[in-house]
């Protein structure tokens, strides 16, 4: 079943939804990166919650005009309008009052959501008996989706992706260094508006699949996960798109295999799974590498101190130091230095003496700034400089 879902053999609608979710995921991951780099990830939370009153009002308006009320394009249009209003409220509150942006985001998301709930209960009461099904926008639902709706989502996902591709360069510049972008003659406010507009478009397209509570995850998690793997904007954007796409594709496919697997949460959990892998295994920024780096550093400090103690004939009591030195063959099991241990100890002591001399000389201030108790002086000075230093060190030390 899962294999069939992943290879898009579960019928026309499921295939369309899966492809739509994948396109949406790619666009969301990439756009989310710009939000995340601009430290505005949670603005998307306000955008997504602010869609609810729009959905409800659009439903009411379409019913009042004698229409079906459940037509997806109309509902999405309404949600886009109200989340744009929400976005304006966030920027008005954070620009024109002294409230910080996070308070503005929280206020807008809770108030708009509350208003949406009020409108939903109004719809329930005037629509008594006939389910409007608007609740499905909260958590997303692809079960029993109409072919038209699936098409809207697939086309919407593709459109957003194309827009993102067109705008990627200016957006990267603004998110990464807004002042530089302004200096390069870009219209920064307009590009920031474009980023927000894209996030809004993704939210609206994703409403039906992921639901308004969780769509924010698709904008944030892939970007954060991708950030672990690279320090280059272009690479992070690509990776985030990839992670978002995989999450959307795998999530939608997995959820198509069973009725009790809601699409939105599964997509989010797939993304979170990738995030966890990135957090642990990513090179450089990952937890494992960080631990390894920490352990190596600790070992270097301990061995260095142990060698200095050996060279000066002092006893070593520290257990970790003893263990590390024994493992490196620097001392024997009974704590007596081996041949190579003595040699390295002498070298360490010489290095320490050289550093001491170097640091006492004000003329060598630049080189002395490299002192950290670990770096051998050979790595800082040239051979000639070392030789000169050794001359003033006196013959007995060398």
């Amino acid at each position: 079943m899962l294999h069939e879902a992943l290879t898009l053999q579960l019928g026309y609608n499921a295939t369309l939804v899966t492809i739509g979710a994948m396109l949406l995921g790619i666009a969301a991951g990439a756009t989310g990166t710009f939000l995340f780099l601009g430290k505005r990830a949670l603005v998307s939370d306000a955008i997504s919650h602010a869609t609810l009153p729009g959905v409800a009002l659009a439903f009411l308006a379409m019913v009042a005009l004698g229409g079906d009320g459940r037509a997806l394009p109309g509902l999405l249009f309404g949600s886009a309008l109200s989340s744009a209003v929400g976005l304006l409220c966030v920027s008005a509150l954070s620009n024109h009052t002294r409230l910080s942006e996070d308070a503005a985001i929280g206020a807008v998301l809770s108030v708009f959501f509350g208003l949406g709930i009020v409108l939903l209960t109004i719809i329930q009461s005037i629509n008594a008996g006939r389910q409007a099904g608007l609740e499905s926008f909260l958590l997303g639902s692809t079960a029993g989706m109409l072919w038209n709706d699936a098409l809207v989502i697939a086309v919407g996902g593709a459109l957003v992706l194309v827009l993102m591709l067109i705008l990627r360069r200016p957006m990267a510049m603004v998110a990464f260094d807004a002042e530089f972008a302004a200096g390069a003659g870009m219209n920064v406010p307009r590009i920031e508006l474009a980023i927000m507009g894209l996030a809004l478009a993704i939210t609206v397209v994703g409403l039906k699949i992921v639901g308004l509570i969780l769509i924010v995850a698709l904008l944030i998690i892939p970007a954060v996960a991708a950030r672990f793997w690279s320090d280059r904007v272009g690479v992070v954007v690509l990776l985030a798109g990839l992670i978002g796409g995989i999450s959307g594709f795998a999530g939608a496919a997995i959820s198509a295999t069973a009725p009790a697997l809601p699409t939105g949460p599964i997509i989010v959990l797939v993304a979170f799974f990738i995030f966890t892998i990135s957090l642990v295994f990513a090179p450089n920024r990952g937890v494992l590498t960080a631990m390894l780096r920490h352990y190596r550093f600790q070992a270097r400090v301990h061995v260095r101190q142990g060698l200095l103690a050996l060279a000066q004939g002092q006893p070593i009591y520290e257990k970790l130091t003893l263990r590390l030195m024994r493992r490196r063959g620097l001392i024997r099991a009974d704590g007596v230095a081996t041949e190579s241990g003595r040699a390295q100890a002498a070298r360490a002591l010489l290095d320490e003496r050289r550093w001491e001399l170097l640091r006492s000389d004000p003329a060598q201030e630049g080189a002395a700034a490299h002192y950290d108790g670990l770096t051998p002086l050979e790595k800082v000075l040239t051979k000639d400089q070392l030789a000169e230093l050794d001359r003033s060190l006196g013959p007995e030390a060398v």
Binding site: F36, K39, R40, A41, L42, S44, D45, A92, L93, H96, T97, R98, L99, S100, D102, A103, I105, G106, A107, L109, S110, V111, F112, F113, G114, L115, I117, V118, L120, T121, I122, Q124, S125, I126, L138, L139, I213, L214, V216, A217, I220, I221, A223, V224, R227, F228, A260, L261, P262, G264, P265, I266, V268, L269, A271, F272, F275, L279, R285, A290
Partner: protein, 311 residues
């Protein structure tokens, strides 16, 4: 009016007020510390907490669920901090990763477990059921003095009252350290105050308020009350004491006006069904915030440009 009001409207109104104030008090500090969205995160992860408690105990009883929700809130705070430090990720994004993933996990658990027989669903978690918290034993104002009738008040009212007293007491006892560490963390640290512990304590108290309020009114009020009344109060004054007073006034006003509008508003307009009280309370608090943002005496940043050309 009397008997019906005491039985049907007084308990929900009181619960609404107490829940709003219990959230608004810690909210003042969260807003000032730019941690307003921690309330948002906490109220999202309450769902996985209660679902987990339900799966473990197999029943819908209050205390395991409150414990589960509190536990989930603590796990969230710890995870956010962990991801922020380990990955050097900005706090907002770390928060977004954690609470969405946990909420998604909660929804999935809910769908997978057999909860069809019990009253446990996402919508209930979001909107609460303020309107259904009625006091059947009451038959007039005199019941307020009748021990026998008082035993029948909704247990949510008792719990939220205890929570409100607890939160107020903590705020009163720790007022000075809280205020100091909120406004000038460095100074507070030089005085020897445990700044980290105070910050964590504040988040825990916020979580307790959120979980207790959630039980009665759903998460949407919780988020709104953490942020809107304190934010509106912040635009009214420069003094923290006055701000706290305003925030309590705003929270109370939102709860009362919101409940009345939700319950009686549609009737006034000629419909016979009430609308969601939780949603209406959040909406009213938003209206209050909008009013203070337009007319509040302290709405702009001190030293910020006033906008006229001569400045």
């Amino acid at each position: 009016m009397g008997a019906e009001f005491v039985a049907l409207s007084l308990p929900p109104i009181l619960i609404g007020i107490f829940a709003s104030v219990a959230c608004a008090i810690p909210g003042n500090f969260l807003v000032l510390r730019k941690q307003a969205l921690i309330g948002d995160a906490i109220s999202h992860v309450v769902l996985p907490g209660i679902v987990l408690a339900f799966i473990v105990t197999g029943t819908v009883s209050v205390w395991p669920m409150m414990l589960g929700a509190g536990f989930a809130a603590l796990v969230t705070v710890a995870l956010i901090e962990l991801i922020r430090r380990l990955g050097r990720i900005e706090p907002g994004a770390a928060m977004g990763v954690v609470f969405t993933a946990m909420f998604a996990g909660g929804v999935l658990l809910l769908e997978q477990s057999d909860t069809s027989s019990v009253h446990l669903d996402v919508e209930h978690a979001l909107f609460g059921n303020l309107e259904s918290l009625i006091w059947l034993d009451a038959d007039g104002w005199a019941s307020l003095l009748d021990i026998q009738a008082l035993k029948g008040i909704p247990p949510e009212l008792t719990r939220i009252t205890i929570t409100l007293v607890f939160v107020s007491l903590l705020a009163w006892v720790f007022w000075r350290p809280l205020k100091l560490s909120t406004f000038d963390e460095g100074f507070a640290r030089t005085l020897g105050l445990p700044v980290g512990a105070i910050g964590l304590g504040l988040v825990i108290v916020a979580a307790i308020a959120a979980v207790a309020a959630f039980d009665a009114v759903g998460s949407i009020i919780v988020i709104a009350m953490f942020i809107c009344p304190p934010a509106a109060a912040r635009l009214m004054t420069n003094s923290l004491e006055v701000q706290l007073t305003w925030s309590i006034i705003f929270a109370t006003t939102s709860a009362v006006v919101g409940y009345v509008l939700a319950g009686y508003g549609p009737v006034w307009l000629g419909y016979d069904n009430a609308v969601s009280a939780a949603g209406m309370i959040a909406t009213v608090s938003g209206v209050i915030l909008a009013l203070t943002a337009t007319f509040g005496p302290c709405r702009t940043r001190i030293g910020a440009p006033t906008g006229d050309a001569s400045a």
